[in-house]
Amino acid sequence: MRISTFREIRFHGRGGQGTVSAAALLALAAFEDHFESQAFPKFGSERRGAPVEAYVRISNTTIRAHNQVYTPDVVVIQDAGLLRSEPLLRGLRQGGLIVVNSEQEVDDVGNKNDHFRQVYLPASSIGERHLGRPLPNTVLLGALAAGTGWVSLIALEQAVTKHLSSKGEKMVTANIAALREGYGFVSSEKEPVS
């Protein structure tokens, strides 16, 4: 295989929760860190409240393929309620990482013997503290960066600054704060995977 470092991440959320922009932000950050990156939503009409997915590819060689992600290395779950209805962990590689926005452990997230690494954090309440609304996506990005080490925190901050510049200074600083808290929450707990 010519591709040496090649990562695939899948985001799960609900229509209106910023799932697609979370994927775009992560791809932007990888790009800032001089990786080749690609992000795209699960295609189709996005209904407010309906389950939504978005995908990211990060690689050190140009990404030519435009196919869907079937075997992600990381799954990010923005709304734990989705576990009730959607097969969120389909195709997750052995030893993959699951980042879940939830106060406490959720039992039906990958039963133990599939030995997925799991990270839980109350992203919505952290997001609410910083952004005034329970938006989990930037917090989860910080957690993902800390949990994998694939993109640096500074790159994520640059991506947020660029992507949200049109939304005003206050939004940018608030999102960066949320990002950092998500990062800190995970990095203090676990050392990043290779």
């Binding site: 010519r2 994927a23 775009a24 791809a27 932007l28 790009f31 080749e36 990156s37 690609q38 992000a39 795209f40 939503p41 295609f43 189709g44 009409s45 990404i63 030519r64 393929a65 435009h66 196919n67 869907q68 079937y70």
Partner: protein, 399 residues
Amino acid sequence: MKQLLEGSQAVAEAVRLCRPQVVAAYPITPQTHIIERLAQHVANGELAAEFINAESEFGAASIVLGAVTAGARAFTATASQGLLLMTEVLYNIAGLRLPVVMVCANRAVGAPINIFSDHQDSMSVRDAGWIQLYVESNQEAADSLIQAYRIAEACELPVMVCMDGFLLTHTFEPVALPTQAMVDDYLPAFQFARTLNPDRPMTLGGASEPDNFQEYRVDQHAAMENAQKVVETLDAEFAEQFGRRCGGLMQGYRLDDARTVLLGMGSLMGAVYDAVDQLRDQGQAAGALRLRCFRPFPAQALVQHLKDVQRIIVLEKALSPGAGGIVAAELRAALQQAGIMTPVESVIGGLGGRDLTPDVIEAVFQGIPDTEAGVTSRFAPDHITSASDEAERGEQSYG
């Protein structure tokens, strides 16, 4: 300097840089993000253009027709059902030899209605007389859009830039955007000799009779044939100025000693290149040929590339019901015209947004059924039994 842009945003920026004076917009998934971004630019004064919200695609095509006849560079974008609603006007624009540029975000054509990607829409209007360029990435989409204006205005023929809906329009990829100065240098201000003008009160689109109609078609066909050279030269000129190419009429990939070559169009080629690399690693002489310019159909150039190849496979995301593969048929005609009898295997897949993964492409090369259980990503139109019969017999049909 590269930035990460959604395909629609990259194209919208390219359109802005070409300084269109009239933009006709009508929403249809998956191209809507393009006209939304242009609307924002106009509203913020970043694009000095008249932004017209048409009442339908039939209206939008008519608006850009009118705009060009009155001497303004124009732009519109559509897809699938919308493109077909424009059909009557598409023929009209080509017949009037108007340099209109449009983006078609390729999407399946109903019924049954489907918003996902395949090439059925632009393929269905291949005889309307428009130059059709099929791009494989967001970078090429932006660059081809800029080239399209040069091509259209040089040949006085309309150009349709075809990019895959969702697969490109909604995917974020690194894209380098040129500066306004560079584009102004490459694309001079809009000039159209037959602009409607009270000082030269000419009549456009008048009636024609049996004794003078055919010549119009001969000229039109000649202009289309000539456009092949224009597409190549303007791509070369673009490369000189911007440091990257779009591939002109077509682009080979590891063709040098290839025994088996897969020909295709659009963003599916990324997976083809990965499959070729996999096969090469296994010692197989595989290669790929990406066709960029489908209309005018570059017969000679195709023959040049394929005359020594043992096995040719054409993978298409569109179908002419009752006839089969479209590009395949035209390639067979070209080869046969050049006395080359190599059989052309026609494979059709990826219809209505079905995913053509590298494994499926590799199976196409190997001529074995798809590996994914249950989901047949492709079929051979020449030996076909109905899908429902298929389901009953549970058999795979493959090339």
